[in-house]
């Protein structure tokens, strides 16, 4: 067994399994926890970690200047994600802890809690069951770099950090309209967020320290500190502008928090491009193949190559070509399997286009085990397609392809002798498009996690969208 010289032939089921179950991320999380806590006995620790199964619970930090709406956003996120909210107020109000009583005393005296005590409180709170099981949201902590570093040394790492930002003038004005409901603790605003029920309206109190001067002072302090906190969370930070309606901010925050970060997991792209004829699938596939060294598998091309090479399959396919009938699915799948099973496809990944045309073909593909891990639908409106296809011409002498609008022929002489491919005639194009749209609804349902793109833009823009769709992890569906 000369394993040193023969290359490793990894069966394709292994990377597929790894991707679907996020094995890499699982192991990475476990290793992170091991290194942070460095237990004497790693195996029971790992068993406990696996039992807890909390890799994907929300761990969010929300920072922002006063009057940016932090608490409101934090509360809404809490309700939506069903996690625990931690703020300075509710940490010191904890009645069961000695540290909390101490903190309360200091807070009443000096209006602030020393960092060491605060961080200890946080640590205690985060060790409780509900935070472990359902995640936590920290509102307004850490305020200073010292707090951020202390939290880090304890091994508490958030997965997402949101920083709200708005111009100072807006904030000062906004703060003047702040009102608090003493019963629920919710914050309302005289202009932007006035509660509908009159009983709440009557209850509302004006909080102290919202005068312009005080807000300006707090803002100065905030700006001084936040600059040193932001570098502590390099890759997980997102700045959201708070100078927009509350609902918009919330929506942006929610989508961010529910998205996963890019991981270092090994990933072989198996991309499927779907779309009507003329939507740009072949072009995008060629661009992808060139940039990422994927194998460009065009179904129509494969069949033509088989016929031209006169392989055994080619002989079987030729009669269908001659009669201009569609090649039967079984034959098609055999040709595809032959190509997709080759070593370079398995190792490098593939871009498939031209197939499946309908639900049956899609099911056949699945049963053979060729599951794409990224599916893209390219949407192009009918008029654009007509424009793109019916104006295609070819020069019979040089073989050069032209387009009367996008790449016109340079001289009149050439233009005079241009020919059009009969497949590009209007009726043919319409037929093919109808065929696609009849089946597209089924396909969209089958490939639930597909990404739909607007194909009606210049090719490089579409390519960038496709790239970001491949590189970023698939968005989680909001339940």
């Amino acid at each position: 067994m000369d394993a040193a010289t023969a290359p490793h032939r990894i069966p394709p089921e292994m990377p597929q399994y790894g991707e679907e179950n996020h094995i890499f991320e699982l192991m990475q999380n476990m290793l992170e926890q091991l290194l942070i806590h460095q237990p004497e006995d790693p195996i029971p620790f790992m068993i406990q970690h696996l039992h807890r199964d909390n890799d994907n619970v929300p761990r969010i930090v929300i920072l922002g200047p006063p009057a940016s709406g932090k608490t409101t956003i934090a509360m809404w996120l809490c309700k939506h994600l069903n996690s625990s909210l931690l703020t300075l107020e509710n940490l010191i109000l904890n009645e069961f802890s000695y540290t909390a009583t101490e903190a309360r005393r200091l807070y009443l005296q000096r209006k602030t809690v020393p960092s060491a005590l605060l961080v200890q409180l946080i640590q205690e709170r985060l060790a409780e069951e509900d935070c472990i099981k359902q995640g936590w949201i920290l509102d307004g902590i850490p305020e200073t770099r010292e707090q951020a570093l202390r939290i880090q040394t304890l091994g508490i790492t958030p997965r997402h950090v949101i920083v709200l930002s708005a111009p100072d003038t807006v904030l000062i004005e906004r703060n003047l309209g702040k009102r608090i409901d003493p019963q629920t603790g919710e914050i309302y605003h005289t202009t932007f967020d006035w509660p509908p029920e009159s009983e709440i309206q009557n209850r509302l109190m004006v909080p102290e320290d919202i005068s312009e001067l005080e807000t300006a002072q707090k803002l100065l302090e905030y700006h001084r500190n936040i600059v040193r906190v932001i570098p502590s969370y390099p890759k997980i930070l997102k700045v959201i502008s708070a100078d927009q309606p509350c609902v918009d901010v919330f929506y942006q925050a929610l989508t961010y928090v529910q998205s996963n970060h890019r991981t270092n997991a090994p990933f072989t792209p198996r991309v499927l491009l779907l779309g009507p004829v003329g939507s740009g699938k072949s072009l995008q596939a060629a661009l992808l193949a060139q940039k990422y060294r994927l194998v460009n598998v065009c179904c129509g091309q494969l069949l033509k190559e088989a016929v031209a090479d006169r392989t055994t399959f080619g002989e079987l396919i030729q009669p269908f070509f001659e009669k201009e009938m569609a090649v039967p699915d079984s034959l098609l799948m055999k040709v595809l399997s032959q190509r997709l099973d080759q070593q370079d496809c398995i190792q490098k990944g593939w871009v498939l286009h031209g197939v499946p045309r309908d639900l049956d073909q899609a099911h056949l593909l699945n049963s053979l085990g060729y599951n794409p891990n990224r599916v893209f639908f390219l949407n192009v409106p009918f008029d654009s397609i007509m424009e793109r296809l019916t104006l295609r011409r070819i020069d019979p002498v040089t073989g050069e392809r032209y387009h009367l609008m996008y790449k016109p022929p340079p001289t009149m002489e050439i233009q005079a002798r241009l020919l059009q491919n009969p497949k590009d005639a209007e009726e043919q194009v319409k037929l093919k498009m109808d065929l696609f749209y009849r089946n597209s609804a089924d396909l969209e349902q089958l490939y639930g996690s597909a990404i739909t793109l607007n194909g009606d833009q210049d090719p490089y823009t579409v390519f960038e969208y496709i790239e970001s769709g491949i590189i970023n992890p698939l968005p989680k569906k909001i339940p």
């Binding site: 067994m1 089921e13 192991m27 476990m30 091991l34 290194l35 460095q38 068993i47 696996l50």
Partner: protein, 131 residues
């Protein structure tokens, strides 16, 4: 770039408990057996390891005896019953049981199946005893 003391400490911890080998083994087991529920499977593997460590029962190896015999037979293509020293060294390297520059003595005799089995088992046990 200087490595900070925390980094060195972490590297030491990994070395001491052989975490890298453990994680590597767990990941390979997962990818090889592809269980429906990966977390449960991992938990069961770790439990077995823990019990094995405590009671000294046989470790859940990847390769059991039949695999070792099969490997030997693959290398011994002429069916003489022995493999050459070079083949033996390559096999150990493939299994991850010896390092590049480890100096195995070539005692002149060819390696028989029993010796091969013995050596593989011995090294596996060495690695596992560190967990």
């Amino acid at each position: 770039m200087e490595t900070s003391s925390r980094e060195l400490q972490a590297a030491e911890y990994l070395e001491k408990h052989q975490i890298k080998e453990l994680v590597s083994y767990l990941t390979s087991a997962l990818l090889f057996f592809r269980p429906e529920k990966p977390k449960e499977y991992l938990i069961s593997l770790l439990e077995r390891l823990r019990i094995a460590k405590v009671t000294g029962v046989a470790f859940p190896f990847f390769m059991d005896n039949s695999n070792i015999v099969a490997m030997f037979e693959m290398m011994d293509s002429s069916g003489r019953g022995t493999i050459s020293f070079v083949q033996y060294k390559e096999a150990l390297k493939t299994l991850g049981l010896c390092t590049e520059d480890e100096d195995l003595q070539d005692d002149g005799h060819k390696i028989t199946l029993d010796k091969f089995k013995e050596e593989v088992n011995k090294r596996m046990k060495e690695i596992w005893s560190a967990f």
